[in-house]
Symmetry: none
Subunit: 285 residues, 4 copies
């Protein structure tokens, strides 16, 4: 008798334990890159009905932070459980989530200043085409989003600023967004042998979100839907606050949230359902 | 005894938790049309128990709007999730939902004035027979419904007015319903070379919902159950308001709803469970 | 033991039985009218905290239909229970609801064509000033609303069209809104002895909502917030549908709802919480 | 034993049902000010048990924005209902909320530059002492908080920066926080006849939150608990973003939130329960 009480209590108090269909995650897939001259790993989340339907799906490219790899969102981010729940509850549309490794060989999501490791070229010229050919993905801007945390938030910001024609939505979480003065310090420490001042300046400008926002052409302002989130205790508070100011001053539509928290996986796990809901609305009309 | 109390409690408090089974959607199927001289695409939703039962099911033909194709209700309309939920919660009977493409070749659900693209003929003479032969469908009027949004709402209205012997229920959402004066403008802009005034007038009359309602024979008034819904901010407010007035004046039984909203997928996603509930009652005796 | 189960069940299933503070209704108050040369009755609803606070409150003038009097909304409309619930649940702000009698002497909310019973003059020159002096009411347009059903819906429409400077919001329910042609019939039956055609025409125009909407000056279009509601089975469907069309064509902002139902107190009881929520938002900034 | 199960169940499942007691609001009280040479109005919210207990209570000074007066939080802010709910649900401790008028005579919460209207002196030397003598208030820093919106958010910030010995907590909502450059523009437009440049500069510094934060002595950094909230669509985004940056750089502990919304009463009504919960924790030990 008491047992059934306990069971009843559990049901009443933890309704989310009664879950629905579940998707699948693979965290050790790989593809050959000509540009990077090596195999590159990636993880994929497939929604619950991927195997039983033969329809195509929207896609989210979800980027990890420095110190992690393609398994970060799977292991620490609980991407499967969170996406399953969001899809089962109707918060998110059914979608595929792709998580590339940006840690092997050289860390980071961009082409290097000297051109010796062209990750951004790899991402747009090889990785996206390979993924969207390999899986049942609706390979159009309207059904493609990018999100990421920390270094991957910085990747999210610059990917969407460099390629607004590629993404319906961009969701940087706790993003590394450098102030202009931080750029000066960075360049002082970099290996710039053989580069002209103009090359260096141009590279820095093209990789500085605040510069790109301030110089955005009017007809690109509404090209991407932005959802920006950074905790009030996060060490990256300044770049994110300044990005909000810059976007407001430039009148670029964007959602901005500052919640209670710091640079932690708890913060990002709490953010992920919001991100999935936000991009689902962007995929819709 | 006490155990059954617990069970009763659970049922009373969390009916929505009793859920779980999911259906399947295919959004890239096709058939050969002799009438249109091409392959035609369509999507199908199968209810959760389609594979495990061997019964036949009622069918809803669900029509997309202008600018979309057979994937519209799947991607933006979230037909799978909404139908799963409505069926699992007992709002809807188990049914098959068929979504044809009316965008390829030439846009629209009707025969053209010049007879060079006979979509309505295709729909009734080839598509419905093909579908109801291919899948386990109860191929009778009592178990067949039609619904659609915008241009597909206009298709719904005229299909049910042209073929009241085919549908138990018709549910136009935000339907394009032309006023008579709009017809005049339309004909002025059309290619009518080689057609007589009588042919033109007849075509317009046969494709104008208000004309057909005003001239409906008394013995057809109760042939189809109507559920009409159009938001108070929808640009198609006039045709829908006039259709309501015309049906009331002609004493044609119908449900009519004006909810808060405009010409958006959010409005139609909110409408879909009502449509499924309404047609389920129409399928019953 | 089983008793406690039953109690628990009741609590779980009927949470609304556990109610909060309740207001008070007086349905047999009266004031002296110089204009109408008689005493006039009215009802008042006071919110739960009226007696214990000393603050002032917004006010809703809530008009009954033909065949009723000031007790209609109290008896059949359950105004006390519905307003208490809406206030306790936060759907409605705390407010005073005043329900005048428009049935005694001569029925209706307007001045007569011959000027022998000037109810509208009474309402604006005597009744509102008396009410707002007698009770703790914020006697400003921003905190004043008008609503009513059927004949009282017609009163609501014309009061707000005649006096947009008086009301923040107007909510006609199942309103009697005459078409222009209905005016012709009406005048044919009226006692117009001694009146010029111009006087008659002017009177009809000034008491026809469609005429007043079509001729509304641009700077009055946003003066009042409108919430219009009329069931799909109501016999007054035509006037309400045409008022929606006229307002849309004139670009007058308004909410419009058509729900399932006819000319019944059930419909109006369901409407009242919506009305209270709507006007509460209008009272806010 | 089993009975306690039932009770436990009820508490777990419907905590919000345990409710009901309501407080009182007076919105038209006044006191005589010697400093301002006039009567000053204020509103007070008393918690549900104020009359039946004889205990003393913590106090929140809740400041209105420009264009409002002491009735703003009562009418538009729904302070009674929100505080009742927060207290009944245990989110907030029982407390008194005092809302002074800063609109009469001259608008604003500060002493004027020329010293002809010394509102801040009034507030600290007359108003707080009067209030805390008149009502049963625990007149100590630990039980005193200040909050406000817009201009009242600006008042909150500077009151707490000027008088950290007076407040346990400060909660500026959508606060007007001027950038340093805005100060320059402001001074150019002000009447500064007869004032030295040093006097002007000193006045501006003492009324600029960013200046005061940057120059805060280390031993004052933890004197007040801060809760700062400003919507991502608020026109005051820049000052609030910069205040967050300045506090982070100065290592002043604070909570900061950016939620979805703009400069609206809806935003502030949503903020108020959080404010009440936050200051309740600050009142605790």
């Amino acid at each position: 008798m008491k047992k059934s009480y306990c069971y009843l209590l559990m049901i009443l108090v933890f309704p989310s334990l009664i879950s629905g269909q579940t998707g699948k995650v693979f965290d050790n897939l790989s593809m050959k890159s000509q540009i990077l001259k090596m195999d590159r790993k990636y993880s994929v989340y497939f929604p619950p009905d991927y195997e039983t339907s033969n329809r195509s799906y929207p896609v989210l490219y979800l980027l990890h932070g420095a110190g992690d790899d393609q398994t970060g969102w799977v292991q620490f981010g609980e991407v499967k459980q969170i996406a399953d729940k969001a899809i089962n509850e109707g918060v998110s549309t059914s979608l595929i989530i792709v998580m590339p490794d940006a840690n092997t060989g050289r860390r980071g999501y961009f082409n290097t200043m000297k051109g010796d490791f062209q990750y951004e070229d790899f991402f747009f010229k090889e990785f996206i085409p390979f993924i969207e050919k390999t899986y049942r993905i609706r390979a159009e801007k309207q059904y493609r989003a990018v999100a990421g945390l920390s270094m991957g938030g910085g990747g999210t910001v610059l990917y969407a600023l460099h390629h607004p024609e590629m993404f319906a939505a961009a969701c940087p979480l706790s993003a590394s967004v450098r102030t202009r003065s931080a750029d000066r310090g960075r360049i002082a420490a970099a290996d710039t042998a053989g580069l002209t001042t103009e090359q260096i300046t141009n590279y820095l400008n093209q990789h500085n979100a605040l510069y790109l926002i301030e110089n955005m052409p009017d007809d690109k302002k509404a090209a991407v839907r932005w959802y920006i989130d950074c905790g009030d205790d996060d060490f990256l508070y300044e770049g994110n606050s300044l990005m909000h100011i810059a976007m407001r001053q430039k009148e670029i539509p964007h959602e901005y949230r500052v919640r209670d928290g710091s640079h932690t996986w708890q913060y990002w796990r709490e953010a992920l359902p919001e991100v999935l809901g936000f991009i689902s609305k962007a995929f819709h009309r």
